[in-house]
Symmetry: C2
């Protein structure tokens, strides 16, 4: 029978460990604090902000919410961001993206302080990820996948790992992280021919394409590990990129949606805040 | 019969096109010039410098050779590098690496001007490579592989491409460049199990591991394209990572060593100098 890999167990462990670390930092007189920078009142930003606040609170990390006018000019936005960069009481910064059209992300990403950029917005952190410099901050969704694998003691070393999807948010960074862990790594995408055959070789199959139920049992090798990174609204409910019912007939282990990788993502932000804090004070 | 993919033809085309571009730039009053920064008199640096000068001369690009004392202090090195960064007459900079031990490459790579860094030393250019921002400079060896494929009209789109080797100089950047060209990409390395089987799936097999004759016909699918990036001295002569005789029994096309990818690499530097020049003046 297929084993269901639950995100909640991973999250619990991250929170327990983070709370302990946070308490140790406070004993040293260090107060971890993240600034979340939101432009306007976009509903999904507000929802994500609430979720971040909830997680940070569980780990005893302070949150400073900075809300800017939705029509803010680029110069004023940059001025605010620089103030947060320089504010010694803040260890970590998250800017909600996408930013409104008048703000050029390709310019702003070079301004956020790389040492506080826990969401891997800065090209410096992208470069560090690429060159395996672990002092950088890795994006939270692929970090969530790695936490999931580690929690369930699934070691990618020497395994055939296939990632479907090559986005900058998941596929590409995850491929670098899995290479660092010595996986034999294949990246597939919309132009891949014989996708089923390629996926079927995988010991670990990771799907991050954003198409509901795209992958079923015909893509999966017997007893393979299946990690579903998709979050889609389909037929009125939340569903992943993997058809869970069908996949669980052949997969050895599989993450559900909801309740799988998605829930681990925000917990990884907590880990990154503490990492920023320790690196600054280390 | 297997087709031998010669680097010389690719180089000729690059030089002819570059010379034409350079002449057009000069007509606009722009004089392309590269600064090569060498610390000490390491024999392999001097040999590479001569090769660069030779190629640049063929394309009518000026070269400024900056030779620094082998015992130069880091502060003085940085001062010299900043002068070159700021020198308006210089469009492109190449620093010979590895630098001597007293110079911290991990610090210096953040100082070289990304817009002149034609050898992809700066993390900004590494990041641009990773995020598919084509305004950056890609490293010359993987560029040479791409030039080779393009010249011989080998389109990686949708093909199964297997790269053996995950170095920062070849394997990793090449994987990103091939993903941008829509290959289904697999990266293998020393921890890969069943390397032969994985390689044998490749429509295009690229070997960059630095082990003489490691790959023979048993790793190669009938009629596959084999690109040998290795340069090894073995048994008194220059040899690649692929056993040419054995491989040519099954491969459809194959690059020799010497005379293959290696010869294209320095020509790609010429292209990068002109790119830097055009971007500055465009």
């Amino acid at each position: 029978m297929t084993k269901k890999l639950l995100g909640s167990k991973v999250v619990n462990e991250i929170i327990i460990n983070s709370k302990k670390e946070c308490s140790e930092l406070k004993e040293q007189g260090i107060n971890p604090q993240i600034a979340v920078v939101r432009v306007g009142n976009n509903a999904s930003d507000i929802s994500y902000e609430k979720s971040i606040m909830n997680f940070m609170e569980k780990a005893d990390i302070s949150v400073k919410s900075i809300v800017l006018d939705e029509n803010i000019k680029e110069d004023d936005f940059i001025k605010s961001l620089k103030e947060v960069n320089e504010d010694e009481s803040i260890n970590a910064i998250l800017v909600f993206r996408p930013l409104p059209a008048q703000l050029d992300e390709d310019k702003i990403k070079y301004i956020i302080s790389p040492s506080k950029d826990i969401d891997c917005f800065s090209p410096v952190n992208m470069a560090k990820l690429f060159i395996s410099d672990t002092s950088g901050f890795y994006p939270c969704t692929p970090l969530g996948v790695m936490e999931m694998l580690d929690y369930y003691r699934i070691n990618p070393e020497g395994k055939e790992v296939v990632i479907v999807g090559r986005s900058l948010v998941v596929g590409k960074p995850l491929s670098m992280m899995l290479l660092d862990r010595h996986a034999t790594l294949t990246i597939c995408h919309s132009r891949t021919k014989n996708l089923k055959e390629v996926c079927k070789k995988a010991d670990i199959l990771i799907v991050a394409v954003g198409r509901a139920n795209m992958v079923d049992k015909e893509y999966i090798k017997k007893d393979a590990v299946v990690i579903d990174v998709g979050i889609n609204f389909y037929d009125g409910k939340l569903t992943g990129d993997v058809d869970y019912e069908s996949a669980s007939e052949v997969a050895g282990m599989i993450t559900p949606v909801p309740g799988g990788v998605g829930s681990v993502t925000t917990a990884c932000l907590v880990k990154n805040v503490l990492k920023a804090c320790k690196q600054k004070n280390g």
